[in-house]
Assembly symmetry: C2
Homo-oligomer: 479 residues x 2
């Protein structure tokens, strides 16, 4: 037992030090590791497999609505980045610059893309001729780089993987509609694949993307009550299309500027999955995104027939599910139970000599710890519905946390008190003045998450200045 106790001790208690708990999970569950390149991580197989599942699910949804994948250059010449004023102001401080290549100093330096609006816009200007070419719905899965000062694996890395979609449209209406269609896909991914409920809304002008006319967001709440911006979809209007001369001949033969959008989700979502679902036993993965949905652990493996039966079961189940058979002979079953719990595998199947005699296996749920004895003839069928039940239960648990952690406030006292006692979201009315937003941030550390699509009337006046309120805003401390 001593080895197992020691093993559990390696993960910091989630209530005591959430940040350290997070780092422990990332490293012990072998999701990622630090590297010699400061601020950049290595995503290990188990972490990358989560990303592959996110990619596969999302990419299919994109393709269903006509999005096509492309690949544009990593490096952007300085003059392109400088073309849109707000955009360059937003990104220039955090880019990495290539100044030497092929053993020569470059005449013009090149930045590693922090995002690719400028590159897409330049090419759209070249590719677009007629209204018949529209819409152009392009996306790329790639790496981007932002010179962050403080980094945390997955949540804030200098380099990260993401998809960035960039589209151009004939009309304002169509572009706006498309921006929201993408937001729906993001909500689908996060709720149905990652089992994390989202809050949908539009960012305040203060929090919107550099150069965008409107930024729509899906926000999610982590275990500790902090908010994570999980995905954003931006409507640019004609801001870039005018700067980059993205014109087309319209149906009447006149030259017009197109309307543009961009949108992205990233490997940050892996951080979201860890922080939304994990507990003191470690990672807890929703079955639909879990690289391993169930692990078979033979008990008393040295006994005749046990490993054979376990292997047979593994061969059967892996046709339908993502399975692992842990036949390591240098660890006890108890160690393995802990190990796979820590790695967040949704279901553990124990199989020992007595189980085999009785024609059953012992099935243990990672989410509730519940143990079920299931007949070996039924396990193939029942595992599917069990995994779905776990998926739904994990979503419901997160939803309850979200509801419990959402409060309303009509005064700043109430606002601060709720936030300190409860963390989470605070819903409060806002006059629309940036000064109030800044003041709230200063007083409480909470950023406006968004102006939710689902509005409520909390009070008549702004929670900060007391002037007439324009809208309800949801606030929260953030990652």
């Amino acid at each position: 037992m001593s080895k197992e106790k020691e093993f559990v001790k390696e993960i910091t208690n989630i209530e005591e030090d959430f940040a350290q708990w997070y780092t422990d999970i990332v490293r012990k569950a072998e999701l990622a590791d630090y590297t010699d390149t400061k601020g950049c991580i290595a995503i290990k197989p188990y972490g990358y497999a989560i990303w592959e599942n996110i990619q596969k699910y999302t990419d299919e949804k994109f393709k269903q609505i006509g999005v096509k994948n492309v690949y544009l250059p990593l490096l952007i010449p300085e003059h392109l980045l400088n073309k849109e004023k707000e955009h360059v102001e937003g990104f220039a401080p955090e880019v990495a610059w290539v100044t030497e290549g092929g053993q020569q100093v470059l005449e013009e330096k090149l930045c590693i893309r922090p995002t690719s609006e400028t590159m897409f816009s330049t090419l759209y200007s070249k590719w677009l001729t007629s209204w018949r070419d529209l819409p152009m719905l392009y996306n790329q899965w790639c790496n981007v780089f932002r010179w962050e000062k403080e980094t945390r694996p997955f949540l804030r890395s200098r380099e990260f993987l993401w998809q960035e979609g960039h589209t151009i449209h004939e009309t304002e209406e169509e572009a706006k509609e498309f921006t929201l269609k993408i937001l729906d896909i993001y909500a689908d991914v996060i709720e149905n694949l990652l089992a994390i409920p989202v809050l949908k809304g539009v960012k305040t002008p203060n929090e919107k993307f550099a150069g965008a006319e409107a930024t729509y967001t899906v926000e999610s709440l982590m275990h500790d009550g902090r908010a994570l911006q999980a995905g954003t979809s931006h409507y640019f209007g004609q801001n870039f299309t005018k700067n980059f001369d993205i014109q087309f001949q319209d149906r009447e033969g006149k030259q017009r500027y197109a309307y543009q959008t961009s949108w992205g989700i990233s490997t940050r979502l892996i951080g979201g999955v860890i922080m939304a679902h994990g507990d003191n036993r470690g990672l807890k993965l929703p079955p639909r995104v879990a690289p391993i949905q169930a692990v078979i652990i033979p008990v008393a493996m040295q006994k005749e027939g046990v490993l054979e039966k376990a292997t047979e079961l593994f061969q059967t189940l892996k046709k339908t599910y993502r399975m692992e058979l842990d036949s390591r002979d240098n660890y006890t079953p108890g160690y393995k139970f802990n190990d796979w719990e820590m790695r967040g595998v949704p279901v553990r199947i124990e199989l020992g000599p007595r189980d085999i005699e009785n024609g059953v296996c012992m099935v243990v749920r990672r989410d509730t710890g519940e143990k079920l004895s299931i007949s070996l003839t039924e396990i193939e069928e029942k595992l599917g519905s069990l995994l779905e039940e776990i998926q739904n239960n994990m979503y419901q648990e997160c939803l309850q946390i979200k509801e419990k952690r959402t409060t309303t406030a009509t005064t700043m006292e109430e606002f601060a008190k709720n936030l300190d006692e409860n963390q989470g979201y605070v819903k409060a009315m806002w006059c629309g003045d940036e000064a109030c937003e800044d003041k709230i941030k200063e007083m409480t550390g909470a950023h406006s998450r968004c102006i939710p699509f689902e509005q409520e009337h909390i009070s008549d006046t702004c929670v900060c200045c007391g002037k007439p309120a324009k809208t309800m805003v949801t606030w929260g401390r953030q990652y």
Copy 2:
């Protein structure tokens, strides 16, 4: 007709100027475009979809033999690149350097990975403890950057996409075996997916990868008789594991260095597909890798029922095949025929009022131009076997070209004559001396492609110096 003639004229004749023909295809078929970043292309949807098909096929094969995907940093600190002497000498001249980040000049510059041996090795050194951890079979799909002086879309771009696999093993034998297992996968991809026959062998010491003990290669022959190195798999021995201290405790409890491999294929293969199969009508894509396997073109689309019937057929066929329906109303059917031929779609299905009356459609093969009238009730089933037939036929055509373009030489006069008259491969004996290899290159412009696994006895003496020959080498001018 004038529009159509003009359209065909836009592609340079393949026999007159192969290089220009190639560039025309890349741009007219909308596979890629030039960008404002010198030497870097934008891969457009049609080109990227080919890459996605290559990725999907290859990644599955990798996973079947236990390879796991990871993602490592884009930027490599200078001191890491410098750790292996031969390697840095090979790559340092062609790297791009990041020297500024976050508005500061960096203390140590970072190179954009030209390949990731050094990064993988550093991490393997950290991750490897015991023989139980071995083998580690990791791969990443990513971008790399090499500061090429002369570039050509897909064939030689400063930035390109690839997969780079890096593995470490317990024994020399296992590592070597794995290197060859990967070479078999590459041959499978190129022959069975891309319909291009390959020549398998080992590179001469002169042509091997910087830092490798042996480089295995799959070589392919293009339409113009030039060779393209299509994929390479390197065996490193303990070269990097000693430099990077990649040690493990072996079964006897002793510390030992692991044995290493690396291997890659890239978007260069898209260039290979263009150049191996294309003709004067444009691109010609093998059905298994074609983003669009068949296109339906309604004829006399304005006639009642034609578009409806074409749409119905499209809906049926797209359940099984990758289909396109060209219902553009601003082009004639003739223009569309040319357009889709130029884009290399393997099968065109014409559907007009008379066809509908007769319950048939007209099916035209891109590879042979052959026209077939196929009953609408049978087309769903027959299209599959037709696509397979086209795939096989395209492979056979390439194979014939390869055989026709492969000659033997026992003297340098014969060597030079064959190469000039025939291009292609020249098989000739070699003494093993680098000086002869250099001389042949100088005299004929041909590089040694490889020492083929399938050896033949052409003569007793080296084609160049006349001394006793050690081995048969296949030579050819290259891309």
